[in-house]
């Protein structure tokens, strides 16, 4: 399955999970699906049948509320049986509505923002001490950059030249109530990251070739943490969800689901 196909199937599963459990955050999940599809489809060294393999690359999802896309991609890559996704959000399920490390293939639970990058920094430090070649990828939201802990981690990562740390910003410019720009402006973002000592690459977060190229470049760079700023569209792939705050919270109804699935399948 190529990354385009993986993303398409992940979007469908994500929508179905959210509708079944009447959950929120579908817009956030669709925003990052292409990035995950390229990471798990083309970039990361993964061992779905041996998920704890020491040589694996690791992915940390800091915006844990967008978890359905990650659960879907992990299921599609064979970390667990796809039928397990049906338990998402149900009583006694490990598939919680924020990403859970109790699910096979998930490295770290989040839900409170600003935890993923500092944790990934510790992992990258560990890999540096051990001199292993594996990488740590961490995906953060744009609104989440308001958390100061991210900037603390960047200081440390740059100071210690943690080049096994690759940070992806899912820059959809929408947060809980309105745009990032109107909430707490993070621009000029590229310059901020550069000033903190990172190498910054910018991509269209829905163009698989561009994403792939950026990761290829990122994995060869030395001496600095790498930030990939991915310009994305919240709700990507479903016309009525794209760029609207509503789908940070709302659950599609049956008719909306049918339309969404049709659009994705025909894309």
């Amino acid at each position: 399955m190529n990354s385009i196909e993986l993303a398409k199937k992940a979007r469908i599963l994500a929508l179905q999970m959210v509708v079944k459990s009447k959950a929120s955050h579908i817009g956030s999940a669709l925003s990052m699906t292409d990035i995950l599809a390229v990471l798990y489809g083309n970039v990361m060294k993964i061992f779905p049948r041996d998920p704890e393999n020491e040589d694996r690359d690791m992915f940390i999802l800091s915006k844990g509320h967008a978890c359905v896309s990650l659960y879907a991609v992990l299921g599609l890559k064979g970390f667990f049986d796809l039928t397990e996704l049906h338990t998402y959000g149900q009583d006694d399920s490990d598939f919680m509505n924020h990403i859970s490390h109790k699910v096979t293939g998930v490295e770290f639970s989040t839900g409170s923002l600003g935890h993923g990058l500092p944790f990934a920094t510790g992992k990258a430090l560990g890999k540096k001490i051990k001199k292993t070649s594996s990488k740590v990828f961490v995906l953060v939201g744009d609104g989440e950059l308001g958390e100061g802990s991210n900037w603390e981690a960047l200081l440390f990562a740059a100071h210690h030249k943690l080049d096994k740390l690759i940070i992806i910003v899912d820059y959809n410019n929408l947060q809980s109530l309105t745009t990032v720009e109107e909430t707490l402006n993070i621009e000029p973002l590229k310059q901020k990251f550069e000033a903190f000592g990172c190498v910054v690459l910018e991509v269209d977060g829905h163009n698989h070739d561009e994403i792939k190229d950026a990761f290829e470049q990122a994995t060869t760079l030395k001496g600095k943490p790498i930030v990939i700023v991915a310009k994305t569209i919240k709700g990507k792939g479903v016309s009525y969800m794209e760029n609207t705050v509503k789908w940070h919270y709302s659950t599609p109804n049956e008719n909306e689901l049918i339309q969404a699935l049709k659009e994705i399948e025909n894309a």
Partner: protein, 292 residues
């Protein structure tokens, strides 16, 4: 206590290549030996406790046993959520080591008074609390933590404390450590700086026949062992350099199921009058109602 800790940790690190020490820009004239001996296992995180705590969790998830070191309120209250979610929930071997427990840094002001820290740390179900009362207990606690890596809080005072224990023992969590046998079946039960205070209380006629026990290793998981031990005595006075609210004495009381046991338990803990006051440790203990 802090010198005992760092010396023992340095010895342990020579045997165990997985031990890493991260300091929060503190430890001048204390940590240098560790730093020189293990340069790739010593980090100064700088003044950023939230990152220090999450990063320690990340490092621990890579197979290391991580000790983070700072002054009492900084690596606890400042990064409480990081300890709760990243360390505790993931059951990772990170020990938060603090100096300045209680009112040890009295003159430095309220920001440096660790008189609510036990209340915070004992809320986290996965955390073991190690709050030694003298240098020997510090070594005993560290030995336990090295043998049983996991989320943990090691609360130290500062330097130069006398020993009240006479020898190194193997401590078990939740199990009281006899320091002075009771002549009247009444005892002081101490943790952390409470041990020093109890030594002074037994000099009074009123308490001359009391024994002294300490409980250096405890926490949310170990309440179940308390009532049976409480019932071995006619009176137990808990002593701690911490507010009574959410502290060690409150923890003991929460462990009780039999109403009769409640009647035997009394407390010596800091009153809230101490909040906002500044002075030497002795002055503040007096102000807080703990000094003779």
């Amino acid at each position: 206590m802090r010198n005992t800790f760092i010396k023992a940790l340095t010895l342990a690190a020579a045997q165990n290549p997985k031990i890493v020490l991260i300091v929060g820009d503190l430890g001048y004239s204390v940590i240098e030996d560790f730093q020189e001996k293990f340069p790739d296992r010593f980090y100064n995180a700088g003044i950023c406790e939230q990152n220090m705590a999450s990063m320690a969790a990340g490092l621990a998830s890579e197979g290391y046993q991580v000790f983070i070191y700072s002054i009492a309120n900084f690596p606890t209250f400042r990064c409480a959520e990081q300890l709760r979610n990243d360390v505790g929930y993931h059951s990772l071997p990170v020990t938060v080591v603090t100096v300045g427990g209680g009112l040890s840094y009295g003159n430095l002001g309220y920001s440096h008074h660790a008189i609510q820290d036990l209340g915070l740390m004992r809320l986290f179900p996965e955390f073991v609390i190690a709050s030694p009362g003298d240098p020997l207990e510090t070594e005993m606690c560290l030995n336990y933590l090295l043998q049983n890596p996991g989320p943990s809080y090691l609360r130290l005072k500062k330097a130069g404390e006398p020993n009240f224990n006479t020898n190194l023992k193997i401590l078990s969590p939740g199990i009281w450590n006899e320091i002075l046998a009771s002549k009247n079946n009444k005892i002081f039960l101490t943790t952390s700086g409470g041990l020093n205070l109890a030594q002074q209380y037994i000099k009074l006629n009123e308490f001359e026949n009391y024994g002294i026990y300490s409980l250096p290793i405890w926490g949310a998981q170990y309440k179940t062992y308390q009532e049976q031990q409480l019932n071995q005595f006619d009176e137990i006075i808990s002593v701690e350099d911490h507010l009574l609210d959410c502290g060690f004495g409150s923890w003991l009381r929460e462990s009780i199921t039999n109403p009769n046991t409640h009647l035997k338990l009394k407390h010596k803990a800091l009153s809230k009058d101490v909040i906002g006051k500044v002075g030497s440790e002795d002055y503040l203990l007096n102000k807080g109602g703990l000094k003779l």
